[in-house]
Amino acid sequence: MLRYTVRMSRLKGKDMNRKKGRLLAIPYIIWIAGFTIIPLIFILVKAVTDVNGSLTSANLFAIFDPLHRKALLMSLSVAFFSTLICILIAYPASIILRTSRITNKSIILFILILPMWMNFVLRIFAVQLLISNNGVLNYILTAVNLPPLKIINTPWAILLGMVYDYLPYMMLPVLNSVLSIPEDVIEAAQDLGSNRFRVLTHIIFPLSLGGIGSGIIMVFVPSMTEFVIANILGGGKIQLLGNIIEQEFTVTMDWNLGSGLSVSLMAFVLITSMIFGRNNEDTAAGISL
């Protein structure tokens, strides 16, 4: 009997804890509902209806219109190449950092993150100042009798801006995964007969795939949906899908079409995330979907 009452009171205690836990979760539930779930439902409803509120799939398939298709293609290629360039910069840098004798690697990490402390629109304006036709770069080029470069208002300018903006988001997970490989695992590979190249291809690379996957998601997804960089560095001449969606909402005021394009874009983003987000659970840097 005594034991029974003890157990009961323990159970009550557990129940109380559970109730308290639920109370603490309320702010987060409100946050998620208010800023994620409800807007998402709103967008989804707008996407499958027309101005009169009747069901239609036209908005969802509007992405295949020639104009939109062109913008989607531009978005995809800019996102693809900016992600690729970020990997090509971040991966060798991480390998070099790992093998270097620099003992205080956190300082390097700090320097890498430093630009993220500044508003990214400001940084893009700075890039604009550097590469505009009468900008700092061309001033230096003409000063040494070289022909000025016309980069501003081309896809190259957008690519440059995106790489500049998103590089830390690639660098952090990749560096993290490369640095977290234990030294004795690499020594074991050498011990078993691997030269430096084989250690890189058979040990370091496969063990850092998780970090690369995270980096791809963190760079590819935002650059797919980017429109501010395109506005500033593209001079309004290059249309990314993000720009078109923005215009549907703010200029044309066709929220149904804007929502439809957003949902289609979201589908693209989800598919790529799923491709690269797999097998990420092992790495600390991994963000698995």
């Binding site: 020594e187 590979a189 011990d191 078993l192 030269n195």
Partner: protein, 367 residues
């Protein structure tokens, strides 16, 4: 004695101006089980890493089978290492881990498959080919690490505290496994540990190290029974470490009382260190013996009683015996001449450093 396989010649190494190895010279023979034993920071791991090719000595040379391998990279050496934390490749399954070295050598697939099966059988993990290393227990992971190393048929297997991360029971089982493995493979084992029991159980030869210097090289029996200095005596097992004066050959004065012993060549009236193992102090209830004493504490240790006996010559002896004497009782104390071990006092502090954290367990980073 078998043929010499490895020779360290005057090896010195320092990290950040700390001397880790000081002029170390050591020979290891074919088919020998050599254990480098010592406390944290004594240089044993560094010695092993120099042999494995992971560190370069500042000065001195390493010879392998007559060849100078001092600057040879690890992948070119005919030896394999078992690491303390296993260092398995987590992105490969057990079979791929074991096949790693064989694939580099370009052996054909059926041969590799056969060797994987054989090495798994040797370590008692048949049928584990497809398992992932992270699904295995610590002891199983260590067996895979051993299989991964021995499958390459190295002439020497280096083991860096391989049992350090395992629990006591498993550690004892693995000690016998390793002895069996060595006998089956017929290769040289170089083993690093700070655990004296491990060293005594498995080794043919024990190399006791402290502060970058070799203190004594010998068989486990030699090291235990005939320690050459106070550090070795204190590090290996428990002991009564006493100050004495060598009156003449075969007679030592401890605390004013002369004890017959069997050691010679220490001169006359020279101060010496004396070691008497706790199990070698004989007590008698009658009070007869070389001196008398009073039992001041007694603790039951399972096989024996461990007690402290305060003697009339002013020395408190640690005694291990299967007889029980109550606290406060008077006992006779005597020591067989063969069980008194005489050692030279250290000449300089550099030659021998006594009592450096001998109780350290599970050391962390050791340069």
């Amino acid at each position: 004695m078998e043929k010499e396989l490895i020779r360290f010649e005057n090896i010195s190494k320092s990290f950040d101006s700390t001397d880790v190895l000081k002029d170390l010279t050591l020979s290891i023979h074919e088919n020998e089980f050599v254990t480098l034993l010592g406390p944290s920071g004594c240089g044993k791991t560094t010695t092993l890493r120099i042999l494995g090719g992971f560190e370069m000595p500042d000065s001195g040379r390493v010879f392998f089978d007559g060849m100078d391998i001092t600057s040879l990279p690890p992948n070119k050496r005919q030896l394999n290492t078992v690491f303390q934390k296993y260092a398995l490749f987590t992105h490969m399954n057990v079979a791929e881990n074991i096949a790693f070295g064989l694939k580099i050598k370009g052996q054909d697939k059926s041969m590799i498959r056969e060797k994987i099966a054989y090495s798994l059988k040797l370590v008692g993990l048949e049928g584990y080919e497809k398992r992932s290393p992270s699904s295995l227990s610590g002891g199983q992971q260590q067996r895979i690490a051993i299989a991964r190393a021995i499958v390459n048929e190295p002439k020497v297997l280096l083991l860096d505290e391989p049992l350090g991360a395992l629990d006591l029971k498993l550690r004892q089982d693995m000690q016998y496994e390793l002895i069996r493995l060595k006998e089956e493979l017929g290769i040289t084992f170089v083993y690093v540990t700070h655990d004296q029991e491990e060293a005594l159980t498995m080794s043919d030869t024990v190399v006791v190290m402290n502060q970058g210097r070799i203190q004594q090289i010998g068989s486990p029996e030699d090291i235990y029974n005939e320690p050459q200095n106070a550090f070795v005596a204190d590090f290996i097992g428990e002991s009564n470490l006493l100050d004495g004066i060598m009156v003449r050959d075969c007679l030592v004065n401890i605390g004013g009382l002369d004890f017959p012993c069997v050691d010679t060549g220490f001169g006359t009236d020279n101060p010496v260190d004396v070691v008497i193992r706790p199990e070698d102090v004989e007590l008698s209830s009658s009070g007869e013996g070389q001196t008398k004493g009073r039992v001041i504490s007694i603790v039951f240790k399972g096989v024996h009683w461990e007690m402290h006996v305060e003697s009339d010559i002013g020395i408190t002896f640690l005694v291990k015996t299967t007889d029980h004497f109550p606290v406060g009782s008077t006992v006779g104390i005597s020591v067989d001449p063969y069980n008194i071990q005489i050692m030279h006092k250290p000449v300089s502090e550099d030659a021998q450093v006594y009592g450096q954290d001998e109780s350290s367990e599970g050391e962390g980073y050791e340069p």
